[in-house]
């Protein structure tokens, strides 16, 4: 299936080795907030002050990012006076990684002492009330990938065998996000994010199905990371950027170029919101 060979089992040894390596580069800095940046959002990482850059490729046990528009490195430093660890580029299931690999960085964050995770992504709008360029607060998710990163031996020192995901997205952080969006005058949609494997965009029938299942947006990431966060007790805030209306909701053909273009138009809004939220957390 995949051309990417699994170099590790992405188990506790690999997680610990990656955390130790990153720790050795931080010169005593203690990151508190993790941010995972989705398609077209990588520029937020450029705003991190006193940045330390660590490429995924140099981290023992880490997979390497391949997708267009994703850089593939950690940027660690300060944002709004808070110590943050930003993932500029993430690992996607559709790239052929084992699903554990897509979630592994979150367990590494846990080892580094991070207690809050902000996950962002570009998603297709399924809710007819959404418009291209909207930002959506993720209130819940549907895993439609027929796989999850918690399969296999449980790493008991990180979390329980049967983690609860009924409150995977922190109510407290959602309140912060709503309050910041009101203060800044940014309209924030809310909804359920459905994780599909991709990499092809959904058919109109699949989009109607997502709607039937109760989803407001569809995308190809985030949920495995949130599974890992829920497993190890990291508080999560999720924000989707509605880069396009999903097939059948809009008549237009979908393209990755459009996702990136739309992000360019609304990036200022996105950056203001995330900075504001980080400040208020």
């Amino acid at each position: 299936m995949s051309a990417i060979a699994a170099s590790t089992d992405y188990g506790i040894e690999a997680i610990q080795a990656a955390a130790d390596y990153i720790q050795s580069k931080l010169k005593g800095l203690q990151p508190e907030i993790g941010l995972i940046l989705g398609s077209g959002m990588g520029l937020l990482a450029d705003l991190v002050e006193n940045p330390i850059h660590i490429h995924y490729s140099e981290i023992p046990g880490f997979p390497v990012s391949t997708v267009e528009g994703h850089a593939g490195r950690f940027v660690i430093g300060q944002l709004e006076g808070r110590n943050v660890l930003v993932m500029q580029g993430r690992f996607h299931y559709y790239e052929g990684y084992p699903i554990k690999a897509t979630a592994m960085p979150v367990w590494v964050m846990k080892k580094l002492g991070i207690s809050i995770l902000v996950v962002t992504n570009a998603a297709g709008g399924v809710n007819a009330g959404f418009e291209q360029g909207d930002l959506m607060l993720i209130t819940d998710h549907i895993n439609f990938a027929f796989n999850n990163p918690l399969m296999g031996p449980n790493i008991a020192e990180l979390g329980p065998r049967f983690p609860d995901t009924s409150q995977a997205y922190s109510a407290r952080l959602q309140t912060v996000a709503r309050s910041v969006s009101t203060t800044q005058g940014i309209h924030l949609q809310e909804g359920v994010y459905q994780f599909n494997t991709g990499p092809c965009y959904e058919t109109p029938a699949e989009v109607r199905l997502a709607k039937h299942l109760g989803a407001d947006a569809v995308g190809m990431s985030t949920v495995p990371e949130v599974h890992a966060a829920a497993h190890c007790g990291i508080e999560v805030l999720g924000i989707s950027f509605i880069s396009n209306l999903a097939a059948g909701i809009s008549d237009k053909a979908l393209s990755h170029a459009e996702v990136v273009e739309t992000m360019d138009i609304v990036k200022d809004k996105f950056i203001r919101l995330v900075r504001g939220i980080v400040q208020e957390m």
Binding site: S2, Y201, L254
Partner: protein
């Protein structure tokens, strides 16, 4: 070193090219009980899958396992007599490999057929249905893994996977031949078991008209490479959860055999009218 997908495609295409003198334009994938259609191909060159480098081998009953290349209605066609199914244990990359090879041989239009269960009450065993859209409920996708830009984009659009022009053409041909046809949505599941009533009710709730175990992976890969796809299902049994009778593969084949003559007339008529 193991060859990558591109190299495997090229090796298979090169081998096939060395055996044929025509350039196929239309690709046919023939489902359960419809493999006999390949017997109508004139000046046929037949190549066993096992002779083609990197081709998987077919295992299911009723699937012969040959490529047949030749003329149908004056058009150059290549037919997959016996397809590869996910439930046989192949990866989706293997299942869709023949479509990749078809494209490398110059095929631009795919006609994909299958036998499937009808869920919508307006469908009946023996009906032929043009697939207007699909739901991939297999739990896997043939495009997962490294993308080769030479083949197609990383994130292909699937908003019109089944070519509207070909469906219109198909309906015209059906009308001329006096063959009744339906239209509907096809949901692919992994199989190989036939679904439970509760599962069928779920798929009905999805908005699907039919359920089957093939076609969607091949369509995704064809669309990925910019090919035009026409999908035609033969309804071999009713998968209506509230009026269910126990199902056997032999029965599916029997209904498919009965529908075969009109199915063959329809596909032959469409091929004749293709530009």
């Amino acid at each position: 070193m193991e060859l990558n997908l591109l190299q495997k495609i090229n090796a298979a295409a090169e081998f096939i090219r060395s055996r044929i003198t025509i350039a196929p334009e239309i690709g046919l994938i023939l489902g359960s009980g419809l493999g006999g259609f390949a017997d109508e191909i004139e000046d046929a060159v037949k190549i066993d899958y096992q002779d083609i480098p990197h081709f998987p081998l077919s295992t299911v009953e009723g699937h012969a396992g040959k490529l047949v290349i030749g003329k149908l209605q004056g058009k150059n066609v290549i037919a997959l007599q016996g397809r590869f199914h996910y439930y046989e244990g192949y990866s989706l990359e293997q299942v869709t490999f023949p479509v990749r090879v078809f494209k490398a041989l110059g095929v631009s239009t795919m006609i994909v057929t299958n036998a499937c269960g009808g869920i919508t009450q307006s469908l009946h065993p023996g009906d032929l249905m043009f697939i207007t859209d699909h739901i991939n409920f297999i739990g896997d996708n043939p495009l997962i893994g490294k993308n080769f830009n030479e083949l197609g984009p990383r994130f292909p659009d699937m908003s019109t996977a089944y070519d509207k022009g070909l469906i219109t053409l198909g309906k015209q041909v059906a009308a001329e031949l006096n063959i009744d046809t339906k239209e509907g949505i096809y949901t692919a599941v992994s199989g190989p078991y036939y679904y439970s009533k509760a599962e069928l009710r779920m798929v009905k709730g999805f908005g699907s008209d039919t359920i089957g175990m093939s076609t969607v992976p091949e369509t995704i890969v064809a669309v990925h490479m910019g090919m035009k796809v026409l999908g035609i299902s033969c309804i071999t049994d009713m998968a209506d959860p509230d009026n269910l009778v126990p199902l056997e593969h032999a029965h599916v084949v029997a209904v498919a055999n009965e529908a075969r003559p009109k199915f063959i007339r329809l596909v032959a008529g469409i091929i004749q009218k293709l530009p």
